[in-house]
Amino acid sequence: MSKRTVELDLATPGLDARGQPVRVPLGVGDAPDATPPEPDLTGEHMLINLGPQHPATHGVLRLVVELDGETVVRVIPHLGYLHSGFEKLGEYRHYNQIIPLTDRTDYLSPMANNVGFALAAEKLMGIEITPRCTVLRVMACEMSRIISHMVWLGTTSIDLGAFTPFLWAFQERERIYNLQEMWTGARLTTSVTRVGGMMADIPDDFVAGLREFTQTFPRTLSEIDRVLTRNGVWVGRTQGVGALTAAEAINHSLSGPMLRASGVPYDVRRDQPYLDYETYDFDVVVGEHGDVYDRYLVRLEECSQSNRILQQALVRLPDGPVNVADPRVILPPKSRAMNDMEAMIYHFKQVMEGVKAPVGEAYVGIENPKGELGNYLVSDGSAKPVRWRIRPPSFINLSALSKMAEGHLLSDLIAINASVDIVMGEVDR
């Protein structure tokens, strides 16, 4: 019996390579040929390029992933797409002129970066800041921690398929941004500190606005907690994924929530206190398993601890000057600079020559939302640092990515990468 065929010419999918309609056997003729054997794919590895323009890499991070089926064999990260040479630029700037550069490193927590740099410069110059300034800086750091964790929570939940927490988290972030704008005039590039003080004191409505925030923010946190913490999809995608033991976390120099989620109770705020953090009542949040789920729990709980610190700071905020009374580091008020000869000379010298730091070097690490942000300044006695080194927490945390992701599925790589909480402005600097 001859083979019966039917002609398909309805749509292009039925065309063969030469543009002729494909003839499909109807299957009533001879037994079809034995199907060709499945190709042996074991050992065939595939190379996947993820990024640099990809929503799940959280910035211009590029990952080249070697896959065996869907299993990640190796991750090779490529960085540097956002490299701006901040450390080199800093060698050509006065200390106060570097502060705008710090905004642009970890741009999700600009105020905390400003504080970290100012503390390092003050340690180098031996300046004691005023009590009011100390409390204001604590507020700046904790506000930054909340907005940074809110961005992390929102974007990570989107990566893992939950859209609603993203909206809640960004709404809370917006309220902090309004306060930041009220204080500094900018939402992102705050440049709020100066060596020896702050750019400005807080405006009149600020305390009331922040108090209102601290009262209503826990409600959002508990809603996020209710939606995610016992959510089957969330738990399934995060528990046991990308786990690191405490010894591994220490060996990889991880810091911040990444380190604490692995069960190492190290928090710079408590263990090497700055800004009188030892006098605040807060808990260091420590995880147990070191997986993506524990990192989520640690960050969520850190938000409510930050809220506690903010409430205490609001209560204790003392009156008094914000800037130190040292005309060599703090600019005189404009009215005096225009009318008083001595003030005018100080103004001129600071603007033209900058503030000189004594010969020496100083390292200050602060607990940033991403981990320990270090500022290492080396001075040769001039008004510009010889070396300004940023110890970038998310750069170092990201370096453990291959270790965490290898052996997991490609979809888990997205969750693990999100859990590191990177910000490329800081990774690449």
Partner: protein
């Protein structure tokens, strides 16, 4: 002075250079040959317990007479104590120092960055290549003091090189040797792979 400095000197003798304090931080200079031994001792001796590597970087001074320093920030998590170790190298001579990656995996990218920015070679590093600048970057080491702020090449030359870049250069040789794309590589890249320039050849060769 920090008791660790005396303990180091008692153990390693002349290999430990001067120890000093700046702004309350302890700094110890260690001879390049003794670095790995001293770091291992600092990490594994229970009384010291410097188990956490905070940072690796380098400092070059504006004063041309001063030596380039490779700086290690160490921390003992249990004792909450910090220590800064420095190794001095001649910026115009051999910029080589032993890698501490065998002790701390966290040093991997930090040493790569120091190599990228200062040209310091870390002996024994598993994968020492540029990290922030691209692999074919030819202008030198950006954080060195003889490197001009805007780069060595003119803006026109920088644009010309960027436009003329080989798109295959976006993958490292190692990655290309994994991919099936290996067979379609241009002959000169295959030649570079054959010379063992990073990565292994596929077994088919």
């Amino acid at each position: 002075m920090n008791p660790t400095v005396d303990a180091l000197r008692a153990t390693f003798g002349n290999a430990i250079g001067r120890g000093l304090e700046s702004c309350g931080d302890t700094i110890v200079y260690v001879a390049r040959e003794a670095l790995l031994d001293a770091m291992t001792w600092l990490r594994d001796t229970p009384e010291q317990g410097y188990d956490y590597l905070v940072d690796v970087t380098a400092v070059e001074y504006r004063d041309r007479e001063r030596l380039l320093e490779v700086v290690y920030q160490l921390r003992s998590l249990a004792r909450r104590a910090d220590l800064r170790i420095k190794v001095e190298l001649d910026p115009h001579g051999d910029l080589t120092v032993d890698s501490v990656v065998p002790l701390w995996r966290g040093a991997d990218w930090l040493e790569r960055e120091t190599y990228d920015m200062f040209g310091v070679t870390f002996r024994g590093h598993p994968d020492l290549r540029r990290i922030l600048m691209w692999e074919t970057y030819a202008e030198g080491y950006p954080l060195r003091k003889d490197f001009p702020l805007r780069g060595r090449f003119s803006r026109a030359e920088q644009v010309r090189q960027a436009l003329g870049a080989n798109p295959e250069a976006h993958y490292s040789m190692e990655e290309l040797s994994i991919a099936e794309a290996y067979d379609e590589l241009p002959a000169d890249m295959k030649e570079r792979l054959r010379h063992g320039e990073r990565g292994k050849l596929p077994d088919t060769e």
